[in-house]
């Protein structure tokens, strides 16, 4: 089941050598670890470039997005098993 969320979230990320490693994020007051990034893509919202990441913790997949222009992170969708 996929649930559309579209809520702002707090994300712990390491930006290193042009790559992004997402460690964990907080949603609904709970910390969710990102075990691995399963997919990555980019899109545009008007002129704004948005970076999308699909993160898996083994149970669920979270699609989150980052807008470098306003440094905001969003949880877009959750795939539940």
């Amino acid at each position: 089941m996929i649930t559309e969320i579209n809520e702002p979230i707090k994300v712990a990320t390491i930006f290193t050598q042009g790559k992004v490693k997402i460690c964990w994020f907080i949603w609904k007051g709970k910390r969710r670890d990102a075990v691995n990034t399963t997919f990555f893509w980019k899109s545009y919202r008007g002129e704004k470039r948005i970076y999308h990441f699909a993160l898996s913790n083994g149970q669920e997949v979270f699609e989150i997005s980052f807008c470098p222009e306003d440094l905001s992170w969003y949880l877009d969708r959750v795939h539940l098993k």
């Binding site: 089941m1 996929i2 969320i5 399963t38 997919f39 893509w41 899109s43 919202r45 008007g46």
Partner: protein, 411 residues
Amino acid sequence: MERVILHVDMDAYFASVEQQINPSLRGRPVLVCGNPLTKTVVASASYEAKRQGVRSGMSIPEALKLCPDAILVPGNPICYAETSRVVFSLLSLFTDTLEIYSIDEAFLDVSRTFPLFGGKGALGRRIKETIRKKTGLTCSVGMAPNKLLAKIAASLVKPDGLRIIEEKEVPELMSDLPVEEVPGIGPRLASLLSDWGITTCGQLQRLGENFLITRFGLRGRFLYQAACGFDNSPVVPTPPQPKSIGHSYTLPFNTDHTDFLRSVLFRLAEQVAARMRQSSFHGRVVTVCLRLDDFTTFTRQRKFASVPPDGRRIFTLAWQIFSSFTLVRPVRLLGISVSELSAETPLPLFPEEKTRENLFHTVDEINRRLGENTVFPATFLLEKMVKPPVPKTHAFQFWRFKHSDTTRIPT
């Protein structure tokens, strides 16, 4: 110089991307479709679903009958388009002659570059490995002396295969090849040929070029040449100017509700007009396509002195054409296209035309900067006001949308 054309075809593309995004879908039958809460068709089926007979374009109930365990996933076109862009940029590392054939297919003329990569087989394997490493996706690669044979080669080894067809093996390969394997021969033509007892390209060749031209006109020549494996078409890196610009839409539910159909037609007209403005095109012919709930399809067109890139104007012309249909059943799909395009833009003669041109320029600029449909005609909202009936099929219970299909209203 030996001509070597390479065809890359991504395997079950949309479904494979979804299986990459969500690892729990891997190895399971996945159907990518539109919003599963509305009436939709299969846009892409994973190989697990294809093995059970599901094909792209099938309605969801039809697909679920064949594959009851299928998992429905709403498509993510932006992600697929972006992933394609990544794949095509990887392919451009292997040649400067790359033709993007569709969102998941490309032709490469590697006649000059294949020796640099250690030969044909090595190049094919390298391309597959590069795509797999970067995206996790698999593709099928065909290599042959021309585009037709390269495409056939890739289709023969799906999924995740590599096939090289050498010039000398073409006659033998084509003689036994089923006619439906030839790109351009669809199920209807294959069925007609089958009624004549023609099932292989060898049998088609033996009918002779003259007979096929007599029976099918110019298409007969293509059929004969295709059956022989001939194709001189070049790999064209820059897409040629489009012959038409069109949009079609499968309605979320079958209906004959006039206001609803009117608003859908208006939105399609605006979409066509926006794309015409992007390329500064005017047109002359408007075509309206209509598919009823029993899949009968009607197409009507009319020629006008000029069709400007103005959604309201295109809609008015399209509505005239639409009104000439007598609706005996609910409508399933609507489409509009404008053809006989020309880049010559007539100067506006009247002040109202100039005002509308300025309006379009401003709206297009806002939507370019802030995102598609930031500003749109209020008529679009009418389409959202007619609610679809909720399907009762159990498989739709997989899906729940917290903010499903919401209309973006500018704030």
